[in-house]
């Protein structure tokens, strides 16, 4: 019987090692797999390349992973935050690299990576500094820039419901980057708010089909990042 459920959160990502490229789901705190990120801090892997829309908030979750010195490079669209100095300070000190990618191009690069599309053209960034040095091509009278698909060694994902096969649903705007990141990583690791039985999810309503999921751990009451930040919490 196929069963992708893992009992303990520590063992779900024990094989992430130094130098890995990791996609982390979420847009701000919504859909951010905070328990998996904290497990990655416990794991201690360094020199990571992390792909996320942002760079975390406060001193928990992704910001804590960065603050802990585990991240060599961020690939993101919006590394500023009103609640975190972690990334800006490291960036100004030259201690972390940044690849800035427009949000839609970031999403499409991840989607392309998952879909076996090595590269595509987009009009986004034409005429701006972000397309400088890149290949520009005129197609039917408009300029487009060539962008490459993104793939990762691991994806850390937060979902709402999961069955043992790895079918997933999400909650409202916590869906965001999670489903496309599931498709673009060699190993997709999921924290689910709720395990359900196979057959409980309507096949019409499954958002991530189980083919993209490798491991699932249940976290029934995940930490809420904004609440932690209000309390001034830090991890570890």
């Amino acid at each position: 019987m196929i069963d992708k459920r893992i009992k303990t959160i520590a063992s779900v990502l024990s094989d992430i090692s130094d130098g890995a490229t990791i996609m982390v789901g979420g847009f701000g705190e919504a859909g951010s797999p905070i328990e998996l990120i904290h497990a990655l801090i416990d794991n201690g892997a360094k020199e990571l390349t992390v792909i996320n829309n942002n760079t975390g908030n406060g001193e928990v979750g992704l910001a804590a992973l960065i603050g802990n010195g585990q991240v060599k490079k961020m690939i993101c669209s919006y590394p500023r935050s009103s609640h975190s100095k972690v990334f800006p300070e490291l960036f100004r000190a030259g201690k972390i690299e940044l690849e800035i990618v427009p949000q839609g191009t970031l999403a499409e690069r991840i989607r392309a990576g998952g879909a076996g599309i090595p590269a595509f053209y987009t009009a986004t960034t034409i005429g701006t500094p972000l397309s400088e040095g890149k290949e520009i091509r005129n197609i039917k009278g408009r300029d487009y820039v060539l962008e490459y698909g993104l793939v990762a060694d691991f994806a850390l994902i937060k979902c709402e419901e999961a069955d043992r096969l790895g079918n997933l649903t999400y909650n409202k705007t916590a869906r965001n980057f999670n489903p496309i990141m599931c498709t673009a990583a060699k190993v997709t690791i999921v924290q689910a708010r709720k395990f359900v039985e196979v057959g409980d999810l309507n096949p019409e309503h499954v958002i991530t089909p189980n083919i993209y999921v490798d491991r699932i751990v249940e976290v029934t009451t995940p930490l809420i990042e904004s609440q932690l930040i209000e309390k001034g919490a830090r991890y570890p």
């Binding site: 847009f27 960036f91 800035i100 500094p129 409202k172 705007t173 980057f177 489903p179 496309i180």
Partner: protein, 226 residues
């Protein structure tokens, strides 16, 4: 907000948003940028229905929830709590930017740091050496949405014009802005440059022209100073 109240000549933030809302046709699909553009949603003219898109995966975004009803998993692109109206749908980021990049959004209202007379927009970076570059979805929006409206103070806090011949800040997009709503005036970007559409109460053409760092054309049809 404190620097622009109705006591002064010109439009305040709410009035600028209201002017923009008036120009959006019924049934439009609309994406609102962070800041003053968000206020547009409060001023939908009677008899019109707009459907709001937020790029983090919601079509049919509704107003802010009642205090205490906020859901950290139901937010907008500015990461603030919102609601979903009946008929809404949730989708992932890939699908959300299919709507934007694919030309399916009718109108996007954005803030600006600078707008050039050819419609170039700069609103993401001052280009300062120590600035943390952060572009978000702005470049995707200006490249993909059919009509880009800008709401912005006419000048910076220090009185420096934001409407210029050429942007000195790094661009968000080239030749993308259609119309600008400032505290002083509504101005179109035309093939001939900036052209006044209408003036805010108590504001003269000469004042707007003086605070604009590029030639300003008079309106094609006469505009009364209201």
């Amino acid at each position: 907000m404190s620097s622009n109240t109705t006591e002064k000549a010109g439009w305040n933030r709410e009035e600028m948003a209201q002017c923009a809302a008036r120009d959006i046709p019924n049934g439009s699909y609309v994406n609102l940028g962070i800041g003053i553009p968000e206020l547009v949603a409060r001023f939908v003219p009677d008899g019109r229905e707009f459907i709001y898109h937020t790029e983090n995966g919601l079509l049919g975004m509704g107003p802010s929830p009642e205090p205490g009803q906020e859901d950290p998993e139901l937010i907008n692109a500015g990461k603030r709590a919102v609601t979903a109206v009946p008929g809404a749908s949730f989708f992932h980021h890939g699908d959300s930017f299919t709507m934007i990049r694919g030309g399916h959004i009718d109108v996007c209202v954005l803030g600006a740091m600078q707008i050039s007379q050819t419609g170039d927009l700069a609103n993401w970076s001052t280009g300062a050496p120590d600035a943390i570059p952060a572009v978000g979805g702005a470049m995707d929006l200006v490249a993909g949405v059919k009509t880009i409206l800008v709401i912005s103070q006419h000048t910076t806090k220090n009185g420096i014009p934001k409407l210029v011949e050429n942007c000195s800040y790094p661009l968000t997009g080239k030749s993308v802005v259609s119309r600008i709503y400032t505290d002083l005036a509504i101005i179109d970007v035309t093939p001939k440059g900036f052209q006044l559409v209408s003036l805010a109460p108590g504001v003269s053409f000469d004042e707007v022209a003086a605070k604009t760092d590029a030639p300003l054309l008079p309106p094609t049809i006469a505009t009364k100073e209201s």
